[in-house]
């Protein structure tokens, strides 16, 4: 008995809330959801980039028919672009036939015209791409590249008439198209989702006790309302970094290196602290789930959106930490969130202390 009593009642309540989650296997559901989100986002990005990526098409590149007066210029521009092959045609008719039969994926018909305003000549190109095919996007991306090459060549020929020449482009690399997405969208999403869910569950656990009337039973036990709220918040706050850690582990197993894991988990813990405190206060204030949850989700979205006013948005902070480009400002933000979380927590405890538990029901 004495050993039981020595345990902090807050810990007991926290453990009770956590075990109820695990017993109901809801936590499994939560992890499944997040797995689904991750799979969904990576599917999204893989699907989208495969629309753009020429190497995803096995048929050995895209063949572009070139014809018209400016055939020579077009031919050179196509030849200079990677992943596309030029096929010259004598007449527009022949090109159109070849396109219709699928022998070329797209064609360019170029001619020289005088611009309406001013003198000199410009190359007038009519580019034709296949309509509503899975290759359309890819073909258009390649056409854009070809035409930009043509534009650059033509600009160089007109260098004398230009105030300043366009800068030469740095060399091309075969960078992973998913890189930026992984760090700026996927990782922040995976890290902040547990926090938001924790906050939402905090609303539930408070309102449920009030709506079911079980809070009174807890009150009969030798614990104060502050202890109850403490325990419930701590359980939910602890949950978020645990899930975040799981994610970082999974990502690293997938070959995605995430730098500064400790700072990231602190960030997750701090945001979880902020939203959980917020959820608890809403739950105590409103006492019923429907309005409390609605307000929680709307206000969290507003606050998260309004965070763009900060020098660094939380998701940018997470991205910079994960990609290992943190600045002093980034660490400053993390410290700031921790500070805000602690202050809010302390204020909430004071607020709870002044609440008459009998008034809740």
């Amino acid at each position: 008995m004495s050993s039981k009593r020595s345990l902090d009642p807050r810990l007991i309540i926290a453990r009770r809330d956590l075990t109820s989650l695990s017993r109901e296997k809801t936590i499994v559901l939560a992890l499944l959801i997040q797995l689904f989100v991750a799979a969904f986002s990576s599917f999204l990005v893989v699907g989208l980039t495969s629309l753009y990526d020429p190497s995803s098409v096995d048929s050995g590149g895209i063949e572009i028919g070139v014809t018209g007066e400016a055939k020579q210029d077009l031919f050179e521009a196509v030849a200079e672009t990677e992943g596309v092959q030029p096929i010259p045609f004598e007449s527009l008719d022949a090109t159109q036939r070849a396109f219709d039969q699928g022998r070329v994926d797209a064609y360019l018909d170029g001619s020289y015209v005088r611009p309406i305003d001013g003198d000199g000549r410009v190359v007038q190109v009519t580019a034709t791409a296949p309509d509503s095919s899975i290759r359309t996007t890819l073909v258009v991306v390649q056409l854009r590249k070809v035409l930009k090459t043509l534009e650059r060549q033509e600009r160089l020929e007109r260098a004398d008439s230009l105030d300043s020449l366009p800068l030469p482009l740095p060399p091309e690399t075969d960078a992973s198209p998913y890189f930026s997405f992984t760090y700026t969208v996927l990782i922040p999403l995976l890290l902040f989702l547990p926090s938001f869910i924790s906050g939402s569950v905090a609303v539930d656990t408070v309102t449920e006790e009030i709506e079911r009337g079980t809070l009174e039973l807890l009150r009969v036990a030798p614990v104060s309302l502050v202890d109850i709220v403490d325990g419930k918040s701590l359980a939910m706050i602890a949950l978020a970094p645990a899930q975040g850690a799981l994610w970082l582990l999974l990502l690293s197993l997938n070959g995605i290196t995430v730098a500064n894991p400790v700072a990231l988990l602190v960030l997750v813990g701090a945001t979880a602290g902020i939203v959980v405190v917020f959820g608890v206060v809403l739950g105590l204030q409103l006492g019923r789930r429907r309005p409390a949850q609605l307000l929680y989700s709307i206000l969290t979205l507003v606050v998260f959106g309004a965070a763009v006013l900060l020098p660094e948005h939380p998701s940018t902070t997470a991205a910079k930490l994960a990609v290992d480009s943190p600045t002093l400002l980034t660490y400053g933000h993390v410290a700031g969130y921790v500070g805000v979380a602690v202050v809010l927590f302390v204020l909430t405890r004071r607020y709870v202390d002044r609440i008459q538990p009998e008034a809740l029901s």
Partner: protein, 615 residues
């Protein structure tokens, strides 16, 4: 069902709601919605820096021509060139003049270089637009035309060398399909940095060129203006329509679950109204609310000129989605045992339905896949494209039917025994099914009822897997199909046996199994109608594997076709369902084993058909 009672319950739900939410909450809610709009406006007005700001560090001297583009792109932090910093991994790119001094080795450095290339390109466009001599600055003028290719079937397989797949489906001939749509040659003002931003939340650029970029119709301008028909706008729109649903289902889920707390719902249950009146009445306000918001958004988009079209069709296409959201939440609220669980259920509903609506809609330009999601219809209607009745039916019917089935299953639990007790989830699933059973013929009915769910699950599987290479995707999709179909055919039979609605004789098992298989077969043949509505689905190999029903190999006599189309699948479904039923008759464990056996039979059959007949 009694409309008057239904309406009274609906009215009561609304007034009780207004009483339950006090004025202060309403005021805060109103203020926060205003704040949300303000925040969105702020983000849209460019007050927000990009998501990738400060991601890469580039060492470039102030004298270098590359200094300006690096300094202008928020993705880069400009530093003094420092070789030791590069070695330590604290600087990704190092330029001397315009010479790249370090060889990018890590993925981060490569990504930085490719990003930098894009921002130099963007800088060049800006430079050129400021040039006095615009003819020299823009020496190439392009007009982009989209033309349908005749004789080329849309396959995801490599090239078009084999024209074995149904060439009768696409009408040959080259009609110029230059789609109608606002040709936005004027909307190129802000098209400076085309590549940057990537997957960022750059709603601004997206919405700016909405009319032009969305349709991918003919556009003209300089090469830099060419926008690939990437339906990013449709994704933004998708969120616009889906987000309100989440708030609605949150409130709806709360109200449904709170009926179950402290036996509150008992009062309604004992009153002289049917449970369908109660459910419909309590759902109606939320459904109307969701549709009202959707209508407002559509009107707003239309009137503000952001989209070219948008009208009743868009709103009607959202209707099944709204129903699906509500029905899934209703089911969830009936199953959940606490608020905490309901939160997770709601999130699951949100995530899975959003992706169902979302993933196919990304491929707006690829007909058959895109139409799986009703959002595609919405996007097309907003673009003022025509939507055929067949397309509309194809994309909305499965969702509508699934929603109705979910409501029916949830309604099975809307009774005292299930609402106010803490039963385990599997028991509740069995309850929700077994309450629908009245005789052996119910097996037929239930197999048919579950089919919309099966179709949605299979279509979702196709949508998820079709991007994979055919060699992997076909076996995977076959597995998904087999598992989904066998579970759907047998789970209600098992429920019937365990609840004692069927007696545990072999005779009953045989009858029920055969009926279940037959019901499934009848319903499955209705997929043929869907395929008829959307011939494109046949052209995608994955689609073929999934919806095996409509396979008609060429050059096979009609009698054989009839045999293959009708008798074989009927026999298959009846046999596998009977196998499961025989297992279900004995015990839970025997049922699981029997279902596995049924799956194996089904898989072997499907695999043989696909391998022998398709190739």
């Amino acid at each position: 069902m009694n409309p008057r009672k239904l309406l009274r319950i609906a009215k009561w739900e609304v007034t009780k709601n207004a009483g339950g939410v006090d004025k202060r909450t309403v005021a805060i809610m109103g203020l926060s919605v205003v704040a949300m709009v303000l925040v969105a406006g702020l983000a849209a007005s460019g007050g927000a820096t990009g998501l990738d700001s400060g991601l890469y560090r580039v060492g470039v001297d102030e004298t270098s021509p590359y200094y300006a583009p690096a300094a202008e792109d928020p993705a880069f932090i400009v530093q003094e060139p420092n070789p030791t910093a590069v070695e330590r991994g604290n600087q990704e790119l190092l330029f001397d003049g315009i010479e790249l001094e370090n060889r990018p080795r890590t993925t981060k450095e490569q990504a930085a270089l490719s990003e930098f290339r894009a921002s130099v390109d963007g800088y060049n466009s800006q430079l050129m637009s400021e040039d006095d001599n615009q003819t020299a600055a823009y020496p190439v003028s392009v007009s982009l035309v989209y033309l349908e290719q005749g004789g080329v079937t849309e396959t995801i397989q490599t090239g078009g060398s084999d024209d074995g797949t149904g060439d009768g489906a696409t009408a040959g001939g080259s009609d110029t399909g230059a789609t109608a749509g606002g040709s936005g040659d004027g909307a190129n003002a802000g098209a400076g940095t085309g590549e940057t931003g990537g997957a960022g939340d750059s709603d601004t650029g997206a919405l700016g060129g909405l009319g032009a970029g969305l349709t991918g119709g003919s556009t003209s301008g300089t090469p830099g203006d060419i926008q690939p028909p990437f339906p990013f706008e449709s994704l933004v729109l998708a969120f616009l329509f889906i987000v309100p649903m989440n708030f609605v289902i949150q409130a709806y889920g709360s109200t449904m679950l709170s009926e179950r707390l402290n036996r509150r719902g008992e009062l309604l249950l004992v009153s002289p109204v049917s449970r369908f009146d109660i459910i419909a009445g309590k759902t109606l306000p939320y459904f109307l609310g969701a549709m009202g918001v959707v209508t407002a958004i559509t009107l707003g988009l239309r009137l503000s000129g952001l989209t070219a079209g948008g009208g009743p069709i868009a709103v009607l296409a959202i209707l099944p989605l709204a129903l699906l959201f509500l029905s899934a939440t209703f089911c969830g609220a009936m199953f959940a045992r606490s608020f905490k669980e309901l939160t997770f259920v709601t999130v699951t509903v949100t995530v899975s339905l959003t992706s169902y609506a979302f993933i196919p809609a990304i491929f707006t330009d690829v007909n058959p896949i895109a139409l799986i999601s009703p959002l595609t219809i919405v996007v097309r209607d907003l673009q003022a494209q025509t939507v055929t009745a067949g397309d509309f039916a194809f994309s909305t019917a499965p969702a509508t039917l699934s929603a109705l089935v979910l409501f029916a299953l949830g309604a099975g639990l809307y009774r005292e025994e299930d609402m106010f007790t803490q039963r385990s989830i599997p028991m509740k699933v069995l309850d929700s099914l077994s309450t629908q059973i009245s005789s052996k013929w119910s097996a037929l009915k239930l197999s048919m009822l579950l089919l919309p769910g099966v179709v949605v699950a299979e279509l979702a599987g196709i949508a998820l897997l079709f991007a994979l290479p055919v060699a992997i995707s076909i076996p995977l999709i076959l597995t998904v199909v087999v598992v989904v179909e066998e579970v759907a055919k047998s789970v209600h039979v098992s429920a019937g046996f365990s609840s004692g609605r069927y007696d545990r004789s072999v005779r009953t098992a045989l009858t029920v199994g055969a009926l279940s298989g037959a019901g499934f077969f009848i319903a499955e043949k209705s997929i043929l109608v869907f395929q008829f509505l959307n011939p494109g689905l046949r052209e995608i190999p994955t689609g073929q594997a999934g919806l095996l029903g409509g396979l008609v190999p060429e050059g096979v006599p009609l009698a054989v076709v009839a045999l293959i189309l009708f008798l074989l699948p009927l026999a298959l479904h009846a046999v596998t369902a009977t196998v499961s039923a025989l297992g279900a008759r004995r015990s839970r464990r025997a049922y699981l084993l029997a279902v596995l056996a049924a799956m194996a039979i089904h898989f072997a059959y499907n695999y043989t058909v696909v391998v022998t007949l398709v190739q």
